[in-house]
Structure formats: C-alpha cells, structure tokens
C-alpha cells in the first residue's frame, strides 16, 4: 500500500526520461510481477500439500506397489517401447487410406447428378452404419469374420506389404479404415458445406465448371478449415490402434497386459499409458502450431 500512497500525492511531471516507464506502466509491471509470484507460490503449495497427503495416506504403499512400482517400470518400459513402432506403423498405414476413402465418401454424399444418386444413398448408409456401431464391434466382425469366410487363400503382395490373406495385420487396419473414414467423411462434408455460397458464385461467374469450382475453390478451403477437427479424429485413431490387440496383434497395450497377467502388477499398463501420451500430446501441439501458422499466413497483418 505504501507504494500507492507515494504515487497518489505527486502529480507526475511531463518531463520523461526516454525509455523510462510511466507511472501507470510501472504500476502494471508491479502488479504483473505480484500475480506471477502469487500463482507460483499457490501452485507449489497446492501440489505439495496434495503430494504429502496422498503419499502419507494409509492406502498409498499398496497403490504405489500395484501402479507405480519403480523396479517394474524400469524393467517394462524399455520393453514396451520396443512395441511402440507396431502402433505407429498401424496408424501410418491406416491414416492415408482413411483420408482418401473419407474424402471419396464425402464427395459421394455431395453429388447432385441424378445418375449418381445410388452413390449418395450408399454414402449416407455407410456413414450412418459405421458411425453408429462401436469400433470394437467393427474390428471383431471384419477381423475375425472375413478370414473365417475362407474365400482367400495363400499370400497377398501389395507394394511393400505382404502376408497371409487371413492375417489380422490386414483385416485389423481395414476395419479401422472402414470405421474411421465414416467419421472423417462427415468432417469433410461439414467443411465443404461451410464454404459460403458466395465463393461458388464467385468461381462460377468466372466460367469455372462445377467440378473446377469444387477442386480449386471449395475443397482447398474446406480441407484447411477441417484440419483441426480432423487431427482430433486421428488422435483417437492413434489410441484406438490398441483395440486391434483383440485380434492378436501384439502391440504396446497387448504386451503390457500380458506382463500384467504374468506379474499381477499394473505398472506396465501405466507405462503403456505414458507411451501413448508421449505420442498424442505432441500431436495436439502440432495441430495448435498448424492452426496458428494458417491464421498468420492468410489474415491480419499486411505483408509489405
């Protein structure tokens, strides 16, 4: 309070040292520093107290033993890390196919040509079905069901992929592509519909055909607009790759749960959670970075 009292009496002289702060700026700076200190102290205190209370509670040793066992973590974490590539690879195989197939479905739903009306119906039924059915059910149906048909024998070779026609590494990703492209198609469709009619009018008035308008004017804007929500879907895809473990694919979660079954300790599951977080948190930051860059590039300040 003494600082304020000092300032209140004196009317500041107009003569200012260049670079010096005005009375108001100084006050603002003081206040900003004070709130930073308060926030810091309050945060340290809160979490400190929480830590002390939790670690001193009667149940803590048991919790620590089952979930946060340091020795188990040290042993299991590197091993699980070795399976991380399996999850990443499955994700990387699915993601591009989902984008392409999702876009195809979205475009089917947007066709206005009467000949293509069946395509519209197909796209609507497709999205309704795969969005309405639990992903795990789709994985079960496709992953176990289709190989059971026994229609395809032997091996398949496609680019650098290959393996048995009944492999879960084939049908698992296909199931994920089927399920996720339904979500992605809806996101694309929302993006296409969000582009204002005046943009179409602008393009058509130049003589661009409907197809050219879609290709050069509508889609580029739609895709840019839906990248953040799309990244959200891909974040859950990265996590849902773990669902493929029900087909017998050995990846991080599957391996963690077998270690848990052997030892009766949940620390490897926690370690698996840490691994998934290490994957997904940077992905969210990537979305933020992209959105910020996009805003900077097309809006606001003038480039000379």
């Amino acid at each position: 309070m003494t600082e304020l009292d000092e300032g209140a009496g004196t009317v500041s002289a107009p003569s200012r040292v260049p670079g010096a702060l005005t009375r108001r700026e100084e006050w603002l700076r003081r206040r900003r520093r004070r709130s930073t200190t308060v926030a810091l102290v309050s945060t340290v205190l809160t979490f400190g107290v929480l830590f002390v209370v939790v670690t001193n509670s009667s149940g803590w040793p048991k919790v620590k033993e089952i979930f946060f066992n340091a020795e188990r973590f040290k042993e299991d974490f590197p091993e699980l890390l070795g399976y991380l590539w399996v999850d990443v690879k499955l994700f990387l195989q699915c993601a591009p196919l989902i984008v392409v197939w999702g876009m195809v479905i979205a475009l089917c739903r947007n066709t206005r040509n009467p000949v293509l009306f069946p395509l519209r119906v197909f796209a609507a039924v497709y999205t309704d079905f795969f969005r309405g059915v639990p992903v795990i059910l789709t994985i079960y149906l496709v992953g176990f069901g289709i190989p059971k048909l026994g229609l395809l024998e032997g091996e398949f070779h496609f680019l650098w992929f290959g393996g048995s026609w009944t492999s879960p590494y084939l049908w698992g990703p296909i199931a994920l592509v089927l399920a996720y492209s339904a979500y992605v198609a809806e996101v694309f469709r929302a993006g296409i519909e969000s582009v204002h009619e005046s943009q179409r009018a602008g393009a058509r008035s130049l003589g661009l055909s409907q197809r050219q308008t879609l290709r050069h004017v509508v889609l580029p804007q739609a895709v840019r607009r839906v990248i953040p929500p799309l990244m959200n879907d891909f974040l859950s895809l990265q996590k849902d790759v773990a669902l493929l473990s029900i087909l017998g694919i050995i990846e991080v979660f599957r391996r963690a749960s077998s270690i848990k079954d052997l030892t009766g300790n949940f620390t490897p599951i926690v370690a698996a959670a840490v691994i998934f977080l290490a994957l997904t948190i940077p992905e969210t930051r990537l979305v933020d970075w992209y959105t910020a860059r996009q805003r900077k590039r097309t809006g606001g300040s003038v480039i000379a």
């Binding site: 602008g202 130049l206 661009l208």
Partner: protein
Amino acid sequence: MTTKLSIRDVQKSFGRKHERKVVLDHVSLDVGEHQVVCLIGASGSGKSTLLRCINLLEPIDDGEILLDGVDISEPGLDADPIRRRIGMVFQSYNLFPHMSVLHNITLGPTKVLRRNRAEAEAAAMELLGRFSLADKAAAFPDQLSGGQQQRVAIVRALAMKPELMLLDEVTAALDPVLVGEVLNVIRDMRTEGMTMVLATHEMGFAREISDLVCFLKDGVILESAPPEQLFTAPQRPETREFLERVIASGRL
C-alpha cells in the same frame, strides 16, 4: 448502335406455391454496345436478382435474355461458356481467401481459357499495374483494405476479357473514403468502352456515369430514362418519392 444485351419480359419468383414472392415482374431492358446502364431502387427491389439472372446464377421463370441476339436463358444450355463472356463483381468481393491476389486473377484465365501460367501472370500483372495494385500481387485478400479487395475483384473479372460487366452494389460494403477509388476504376472501364450494368446506391455516380438509369420497385422497372431526365424530371411519383428520400438522407 448494336444491342449487346436484351432482357425481354423476364419473370422470376422465389418460394413455393403458397408464399410465392415475385422478385422480377415482366422486366424488359436493352443495353447497347459500350453503354452503361444503372439500376437504382430500394433494397429488395430486384436489382441484384436481375444481375444474377443475367449471369445465369439464378434461373428465370419466363422470358428471354439475349446476348448478341442469342437467347442465353434457354433451359439446358451449358452456362459455363456464356459466363466466360460476362464478368461479374459482387458487393462482398467474393475473392478466394486461400489464394494470393495474383492467383485469384489467373485462376479463370488458366483453368477456363487454358492459357499458360506465365502468360496469364504477365497479363494479370499488367492489369494490376494499371489499377496501382502491382505491389499487392503476392498478398492474400484478407490483408487488403475493402477498396483494394474490390479493385482486385474487378481486375479478376477483367482478366477474363469479358464483353459485358455486371457490378452488383460494388461500393455498398465500403467506407466513404474507399468508395472513390473503386468508382475511379469503373470510370476507367467506361472510358475504354466496356458495356456495363450496375446496381448502385451511389446516385451521384449513377448520374455521372450512365447512359440510361432504370428505377426498380417491387421487381418492376417503373421508369427508365437518361440520367439528366430521370434525376431532374422524374415522370413517376414513385421515382420522385424515392429520389426525395435519397436526397433527405444526404446521398445525392
């Protein structure tokens, strides 16, 4: 003088049977080559709809729209080659925000007229230079002022070398300081002999630039006359009333 555009008995209404709203009611109008025609009237009088119908962005219910004596409103006709010959500029610019100014202008020439990129860019730069926008070629629309955006939109339409320009209240979204620069561009186009149909609220400008002024009310052209006659001795009481209201609001 040869007739460039001829609108004959055009009718247009929106909505379904029960709440049908007639927006153009037996509209007829002839625009000669190199002529400038201004459409004036209150909002909702049908000016914009008429322009959108000429550019085939809206189908008409009945009547004919002739360009060089050929009916372009014939149902089933491919609209794209016709739109190529007609430039249109909108009130809200309708520039493509994801493309640079240069790309906005070259999109039509490269994709529709199939000109090669270098050639189209050179032509675009020349047009931009003429409208003192050359330094904005690399900028994106959102980085420009409203007046600059509208001038870019005009350049984009001109890059297609249209035979007829339709300008739909192109200064309505601009603040008074920026209106001038856009009007100058339109004056330049007139000097070069462009045939134009404008919907406008700028009465002073309409009076200065047009060969013919049409006053629309409720989808009907109530009066059309050369500007000196329409603005000084309007025949219809509705025209008089409209002009009095405009004068009262200080816009003439």
